[in-house]
Amino acid sequence: MDSIEVGFLEEKSNYIRGLIVKEIGNLGVGHIGGCLSVVEALVALYYKHMNINPDNPQMAGRDRFIMSKGHAGPALYAVLADKGYFPLSELDSLNQPETNLPSHCDMLRTKGIDMTAGSLGQGISCAVGMAKASKIWKDDAYIYCIIGDGESQEGQVWEAAMAAAHFKLNNLIVFTDYNKLQIDGTVEEIMGLAPLDKKWEAFGWNVIEVQDGHSITQISDAIIKAKRSRNRPTMLILNTIKGKGVSFVEALGAKSHNSPFSKEQMHSALEELNLGGM
């Protein structure tokens, strides 16, 4: 990737952060922390690596994306709106009555959402199912999925892990948003996951640890490597920061999970992102 493209994607990430802040700020409450921690992964996928067509959301053979940590819906909605799946103005309807943009991803309501999620642990199994189906149809699609680190405490995640390796699903690329936080505290104090890389390796996955999960270059290089995996699914462990980019949200720690978010906070967050006029 040349520096111009990197610059473009970094700027895009900042803009997407702004859209998220506005969505949640308009509403006054939301899953702000876990939305801000997945921005670069989404931008690398939707603006660089995924084979998709916003004019034809159901395009045959397209790559799929499953937000298994379904509470990060607002982050994905910002990306989908900017890509043209639906008008940007629709972002104001987040969680309003009759909205197409509910808290948790819903494939029946939102154009561009490939799978419904919200009950943690299930999305990654759905992703395994899609990767398996894609192998049968031989449509050469890649299936991408983001899971949370807290979510990874669900036994189902490890059932999915076993199945994907067993079926040799090298078309499956999963990211762990390793922000080290869940609702009740840090992941290590609540129910330790470490060593996460060794766990996935032991389950038969191709594991790539991305030191800085907010580096477009590092994420993008890791996706390229993942696509070359010969017969194993890939786990990209993204070391991220919950609330990334908005200092007072980062400072909330675990409390940033589902937090009140006032208009003033929205404006000061936009200032910090240099998006004052947005």
């Binding site: 808290s103 807290g150 405490q153 869940q182």
Partner: protein
């Protein structure tokens, strides 16, 4: 006494008091202690109040193991994850093995509000009601919750508590006498019986006021325990009034309405209609918005009540 206190605070304060007296009580969360108000217990009871992470199935069976060791564990999550997500663990490790585990599901039905369809349980009572041996209890206000907890602990067996987390309008005062197996007569009447639970009790009281102003004298029972039903009270009321409306924050299939209908059709058939979620999934929205949309307001109860009355023989 509990005015302006959230139900989760009342739970936490009460269970704290009970934990001081009874060492068997354990409180286990699955990464929702912050939301369920139980986080503060961990400082005081570092061994007996803890988290298992986002792992509800493990939580349920782990609690059954602790119960087999003489503990009385309370396990907590949002309603869908405390019931349908773990219903086999509840069925086998808890109910079939007759272990003394207390299950708390918070934000039932439309009270999940902005968490939307995935978090809006319309089926939890139905799922658990069809598993033998589980007491299903839905407290209507803080006093009832606080008075229920000692009885729930004293009862040796699985109990499911369907808990609205926020501030519930007060129905009872300090002099209230609670019996987990006896329904509460909230208002005597002779024309129609309204059997209600949870957040629908308040709507039913409002509906009864409207009906009264139109000369219709409704009887209201708070069916706080949906299983086992207070058969005697329900049949007695149906006998007296000759027609019934049930009101619940749950699918009309499988919940209170079904339970009452199953009983009355066999014991004392009368015209009956069920108010609640009409067999569809939930969606994002405030409680008031969804009550209107799903036809669960006092006005809707009045309309249905008149309809049932017109069918009275």
């Amino acid at each position: 006494m509990y005015e302006n206190m959230e139900m989760r605070q009342i739970f936490c304060e009460s269970i704290d008091r009970l934990m001081q007296e009874d060492e068997r009580i354990i409180v286990i969360d699955a990464d929702l202690a912050r939301g369920n108000g139980t986080l503060s217990l961990r400082e005081k009871y570092p061994q007996r109040a803890f988290d298992v992470g986002v792992a509800e199935q493990n939580m349920a069976a782990l609690a059954a193991g602790m119960a087999a060791y003489g503990c009385v564990p309370f396990i907590l999550s949002f309603t869908p994850f405390a019931t349908r997500r773990i219903c086999d663990q509840i069925a086998i490790s808890i109910a079939y093995a007759k272990r003394n585990v207390k299950i708390i599901g918070s934000d039932p039905g439309i009270t999940a509000e902005l968490n939307g369809g995935t978090h809006m349980s319309v089926e939890d009572i139905g799922v658990l009601r069809s598993i033998p041996g589980i007491v299903i209890f839905e407290p209507v206000d803080g006093i009832q919750l606080a008075k229920a907890l000692p009885q729930i602990i004293a009862y040796d067996g699985p109990v499911y508590i369907r808990l609205f987390r926020k501030i519930a309008p007060a129905i009872f005062n300090d002099s209230y006498k609670f019996n987990i197996f006896k329904a509460d007569m909230l208002k005597e009447g002779k024309d129609i019986s309204i059997f209600a639970s949870g957040i629908m009790v308040d709507e039913s009281i409002k509906a009864a006021d409207i009906l009264q102003s139109e000369g219709i004298n409704a009887e209201i029972l708070n069916i706080h325990t949906i299983k086992p039903l207070d058969i005697e009270a329900i049949i007695k009321s149906a006998r007296k009034t000759g027609c019934v409306v049930t009101c619940e924050n749950h699918n009309v299939i499988g919940g209170l309405g079904s339970a009452v209908a199953e009983l009355l059709i066999q014991e004392f058939p009368v015209p009956l209609k069920t108010i609640g979620i009409q067999d569809h999934f939930g969606e994002v929205g405030s409680i008031n918005y969804l009550k209107k949309k799903y036809k669960m307001t006092a006005e809707d109860i009045v309309k249905v009540a008149k309809d049932v009355l017109s069918n009275k023989i």
